[in-house]
Symmetry: C2
Subunit: 210 residues, 2 copies
């Protein structure tokens, strides 16, 4: 009997960078899945089946048979362990730790960038609102860390592609795709990452009007 | 030649729940380490050696030889892979995924609780400020999820102790130790978790005046 396809729940506008990260992970691993949406604006994540299935009532949620899991980095780790090839994370212990460091950081810091450059500017339309002083400071921190990580001059953070490249590229593209000032090497990195087939699969999804 | 002890950098008041999580992880694994502090209020995390070593300029940072790593969940995963026994994470694939889900959630959601019940109320003194409506809503969400996770009636989230127990217990204790209303079963869970020797090792550190 064929395995039932996994379900990935994303937001109705496909703007969640975390749903995107899981979408890319599933696509890279060639795991068949159905993409479903939850209307966060209507509070559908706090109601009915979804609120029961998703412990944290957030997107994304991955449903694999009778197992449901939320929180994107937990999901990509799960997929990696379930189906190791092709890999989402570096094979070397310390390099893998550094990829997890990037994932955890992107999800818990740089709040002014996430607020003032929501992913609506990435997937819908840019904004003309200038960055606040706090957001400019966060951007400086982002550039410094990304520069250090990419000082080797390669195309990816860690030799070959990893899921951390998606997460860092989205954060940079909140600024790049909005036309904000970003150092050329980082702009080139984010632009290259955006061209990846699995990433384009998410970028080109048909979105409803905002 | 004996291995050089690891260094753990925490905040100067020992109030970071994330530094605490790594402290407990090192203690549980009986890995020798030196505890050092960084004065975040003085901006010492953004200066000198620390800013170079810590990619994200935050605490905790673990230094293992010439390898430095920030972001607590990345650090506990690193320690688990480096020294698997005793385990910080569940052995079963799906249960391990659920432990990571808790860790990721505690670090990225429930912001009103983290703001209105900073860990100063846990490690220094309670506050009389009432919870805002947003914090009450976040508390309701926390209780619902914790209730679901602990519906089995056991002492720990996942059969035996895991690092996710520390993270959830700290979040609950922001309310419990402040005297806010918390359902009895969750209060009992958080109180039991607090008695653990490795946890008490952090709780009883000598703290400077605020
Ligand atoms: Ca909507
Ligand atoms: Ca512009
Ligand atoms: Ca201080
Ligand atoms: Ca009180």
């Amino acid at each position: 009997m064929p395995r039932k396809p996994m379900l990935l729940f994303a937001d109705a506008q496909y703007t969640s960078p975390y749903a995107m990260s899981v979408f890319v992970a599933l696509t890279e691993k060639r795991i068949p899945f159905e993409l479903k949406t939850i209307d966060l604006d209507a509070g559908a994540n706090r109601e009915g089946d979804y609120a029961t299935r998703s412990l944290t009532q957030r997107v994304p949620t991955l449903v694999d048979g009778d197992f449901a899991l939320s929180e994107s980095s937990a999901i990509t780790e799960y997929l990696e362990e379930l189906r190791p090839d092709p890999a989402l994370y570096p094979a070397d212990l310390k390099t893998r730790a550094r990829a997890r460091q990037v994932q955890a950081w992107i999800r818990s810091d740089l709040l002014p960038i996430r607020q003032e450059r929501s992913t609506n500017v990435v997937f819908y339309a840019p904004t003309d609102a200038p960055l606040s002083a706090a957001a400019q400071q966060a951007a400086g921190k982002l550039f410094k860390a990304a520069d250090a990580l990419l000082a080797h001059g390669g195309d990816h953070l860690f030799g070959s592609w990893t899921i951390a490249d998606v997460d860092l590229a989205v954060m940079l593209n909140r600024l790049v795709l909005n036309g904000d000032d970003v150092p050329a090497a980082l702009r080139a990195y984010a632009t290259r990452q955006w061209e990846r087939e699995s990433v384009q699969g998410w970028v080109t999804l048909q979105r409803p009007p905002l």
